[in-house]
Every structure is written in structure tokens, then in C-alpha cells.
């Protein structure tokens, strides 16, 4: 089957958008990669177990109810907003001596190294860390097909 030119265009656009969003490809070779190489927020790590992938992101000060997490096929999207702390309190800053913490809206997309069971993805938030468990799809185990005889 030959792909229509329209489909090629869509594919090109998709790749361009991928680049534009500076999403991180977990599938990219990462050997020797140093911390914060992508300069993207939030910092993340990926672990792989026999049955699931685990993604953990550092999101201190981001209220869990404002986090938005979605999985479509192999794309994991994490969005949210880190609000300045004093916005919610009465302690109005008069003079800043240090301002090292970041704040603002963020969105980050990741391409997972394999297909996951999107229906069973779960996430938990504790102490400013978001941990996402993505069960693998058991598609790599060969399925025996019985051959019917006439």
C-alpha cells in the first residue's frame, strides 16, 4: 500500500511539532547523558521493570490537583503550573534576597520506549514527586496460533 502525500505531510508536521515542544524521547540514546541536558522542566527519570515502566518527575510545589497527566499510545504528556508560594499566603514579599526557584506553567511530552496498557496507568504524588506506573502491553510474548485442518 502506498501512503498518500497528505499522510507524509501529516507525519512531517508531527515530527516538527515534536521538535517544537522539545519533548524528550526516552528512546533516544542516552548513554553518558548528564543532568538537565534538555533543560526541560520537570526533571524526570525512567525505570523499566519486567511488567511495567516507571516514570518519576520532580514537581515540588506543584499542587497535585493542578497536574494534568495523559497517555496516548506511546506519548506521555505532563502539564501543570508551579505557582509562587506567597500567592496563596498573606506574607507579601517586600524584598527578595534570593530567587532561585522556578515558577510558571509547564508542559512536557515523552515518547515511551514501548506501548503500554493505557487503561491501567496509575500515578501517585508524594512530597513533590510524581510517580507514574505504566504497565506494559504483553504484546511481545508470541501468541500460539492453532492451525485448523479442513
Amino acid at each position: 500500500m502506498i501512503k498518500s502525500p497528505v499522510w507524509n505531510d501529516i507525519e512531517t508536521l508531527w515530527h516538527e511539532m515534536d521538535k517544537a515542544f522539545t519533548g524528550l524521547r526516552f528512546t533516544a540514546p542516552v548513554a553518558g547523558l548528564v543532568d538537565h541536558a534538555f533543560g526541560s522542566y520537570p526533571s524526570t527519570r525512567l525505570h523499566e521493570g519486567p511488567e511495567a515502566l516507571y516514570v518519576e518527575a520532580m514537581v515540588p510545589g506543584v499542587a497535585p490537583e493542578t497536574l494534568n497527566l495523559s497517555v496516548v499510545r506511546r506519548t506521555l504528556t505532563l502539564a501543570g503550573e508551579k505557582r509562587p508560594l506567597h500567592a496563596d499566603t498573606d506574607a507579601e514579599p517586600k524584598v527578595f534576597h534570593r530567587k532561585e526557584r522556578s515558577e510558571g506553567r509547564f508542559e512536557r511530552r515523552f515518547t515511551l520506549p514501548m506501548e503500554v496498557d493505557t487503561d491501567r496507568v496509575s500515578a501517585e504524588y508524594a512530597d513533590g514527586m510524581l510517580r507514574v506506573t505504566l504497565p506494559k502491553l504483553g504484546q511481545d510474548t508470541p501468541r500460539q496460533v492453532s492451525i485448523q485442518t479442513a
Binding site: 527519570r45 515540588p60 514579599p93 512530597d127
Partner: protein, 132 residues
Amino acid sequence: MSEHNVAVAEPPKATPAAPANGHPEHYMSPPVDIYETADGLALVADLPGVSRDNLEVSVTHNVLTIKGHGPQKLPGKARYQEFQLASVFRQFKLNNALDTDQVDAELKNGVLQLRIPKAKATVARQIEIKVA
């Protein structure tokens, strides 16, 4: 209270001694915001993965120390990592204009918020004038 008045220096670069298990432990400096409010000084530190039980905040001889142990282990094998499993350590020198006995600390969503009130002696006291 001027900026110089509450200058917050960070003299010690020395990291704490290696823990008892003999493995060299990595320490990182957590990012902080420090600002003055009407009542005193507020210090906000991002400490992701540091639970209340793993955090130690102390003031000794006007030196504020924040020390904590970072993120817990994740199941499976590491495939990709953008952050180190480091402990956090940072010290600040507080000046005498602050009342270090009244430090209020709160840890929420991985963010430590300290409020250090001004010392009583530095707060302007209104003196009532009696009319004879």
C-alpha cells in the same frame, strides 16, 4: 531592615561527613527563595522527595542548616535519569535582627517554608505620649 542588614551568607562549602554505611553520599544544594515580609524573613526551599521524617532543620549559633535525604528508590532498572539521587544540604548565616527561637517551619508538596520573625528589639515600638 535593609538588605545589608539581613545579609544571608553561605560560608560553609564543606559537605557533611560520609554516612555510616561507608558509601560516599552525594549532596546537592536545593534552590531557595529568601524574601522579607512585614514580620520577618521567609525562606522557601524546593526539596522534592524529602519527607518530613528525612528532613532536619536546625539553627545553631545563627547558622541555619537544612539537611535532608532525597528521593526514594524506584522499582525496575534505570533506563534514563535526569536527576541524581542526592541528599540535600544547605546552610545560611542569619543575622542578629532575627529571632531564631521563633522559627516556624512547614513542609508541603516537597516545599519547605520557613518563617523567621524579626527580633523584638528591632521592631519599632510605638511609645504612647501622655498629655499632662
